[in-house]
């Protein structure tokens, strides 16, 4: 190994980070190279000097503890706050997505005619109402021998239907 390559490993040698083989190689070189010996001893001295800078800390805990807020650390919340939701919703991505989805929905309702029309629901209601009324009068017929009652019932159904139609159309 060249002098230069050995030199680049002196730091790792100082920290005992080398394999035994590399270590032995460096030690063999150190026996012959004053420059590397000097560098290593400077590294070692600076390290010791650095270590001596370390000293007892002032009473940090005594100074900090009275200042700790009672509120404590910021907790993780399961649900976002109203403000967080507002900010999330008005991001360009969320807002844009919402706008596009709304536009598609509107298009589908208007042009694909997916929305139930008022006629359909009225028809359904009227037919159901008629069927129910006719059915109930017929079951009454079965218990009643007078034919007149049956005719009367039919009239009632028609009147009911007319009345409901007026109410529905707001007339």
């Amino acid at each position: 190994m060249s002098h230069k390559r050995i030199q680049n490993q002196l730091s790792a040698y100082l920290d005992d980070q080398l394999s035994p083989e590399n270590r032995a190689r460096i030690e063999a070189h150190l026996n012959t190279c004053d420059e590397c010996v000097e560098m290593l001893s400077d590294f070692r001295r600076n390290r010791q000097c650095f270590g001596a800078l370390k000293h007892e800390a002032p009473p940090i805990a005594d100074l900090v503890l009275p200042q700790l807020s009672d509120r404590g650390p910021v907790r993780r919340r399961l649900l976002p706050s109203a403000e967080e939701f507002r900010r999330w919703f008005f991001r360009p991505v969320t807002g844009g997505t919402f706008a596009v989805v709304s536009a598609c929905l509107l298009f589908a309702l208007v042009y694909l005619n997916l929305t139930p029309t008022s006629d359909d629901s009225l028809d359904l209601y009227l037919s159901e109402h008629t069927r129910y009324s006719v059915y109930s009068t017929r079951s009454e017929d079965a218990n009643d021998s007078i034919d007149l009652n049956g005719a009367q019932s039919t009239t009632n159904v028609e009147e009911d239907t007319d009345f409901l139609l007026e109410v529905f159309l707001g007339e």
Binding site: F43, F50, A52
Partner: protein, 194 residues
């Protein structure tokens, strides 16, 4: 000099995790234990980075106050200690940048203190040693933040290469080469000031 910093070695990973979880739940007593455990480490890293005691003490307090509010951000992806050291070193570098910017403002008076020899040094300590320390402190003042950070963490705090890689956010191989570069630059500076 027996330092309380040595105590930090005694805390197992599980104990550390337990303390952090309790802190995250707002347990002040756990926070107290955590501060007592790490105050010397945090303070000394800040001292190594900033170069004077007053700033180091302020920084250590600031870091723990920040920690109390933000410990929920710690997700146990690394060791708590390495996360904490990253916070300390980064905040120190930010503070230095702020000071540097303020110094360029001519209306601001430069009240930052220069490196001072440690007054707890006993009188019997050799003059040579004090001289060496003064030279080191001067050299550190000239060192770029990246180098200063890795040297403080390695030479003062004795972090392993793996821990250094975690704090700095690079590979162990990069730690090895960076540490060598930093030691070489520091050596040249020290020789220059000698």
């Amino acid at each position: 000099m027996p330092l309380n910093t040595q105590v930090a070695d005694a805390l197992t990973k599980e104990q550390e995790k337990d303390l952090v979880i309790r802190c995250q739940d707002g347990d002040k007593r756990a926070m107290e234990a955590l501060i007592l455990h790490y105050q010397h480490w945090v303070y000394n890293i800040a001292y190594g980075m900033l170069g004077n005691r007053e700033d180091a003490s302020d920084m250590a307090q600031e870091v723990f106050l920040w920690l109390w509010e933000n410990i929920g951000q710690f997700k146990f992806r690394s060791r708590f200690s390495t996360w904490l050291y990253r916070i300390v070193t980064n905040r120190c570098i930010n503070l230095k940048d702020q000071k540097k910017r303020r110094q360029t403002d001519p209306t601001e008076i430069d009240d930052s203190q220069p490196w001072v020899p440690i007054d707890t040094e006993t009188p019997e300590k050799s003059v040579l040693r004090l001289e060496q320390q003064e030279i080191l402190q001067k050299a550190l003042g000239e060192l770029k933040d990246d180098y200063r950070k890795i040297l403080v963490l390695r030479e003062m705090q004795d972090l392993s290469y793996e821990e250094l890689a975690e704090v700095i956010g690079c590979s162990v191989g990069r730690v090895k080469s960076k540490l060598h570069e930093a030691r070489k630059v520091l050596r040249e500076l020290v020789l220059q000031f000698s």
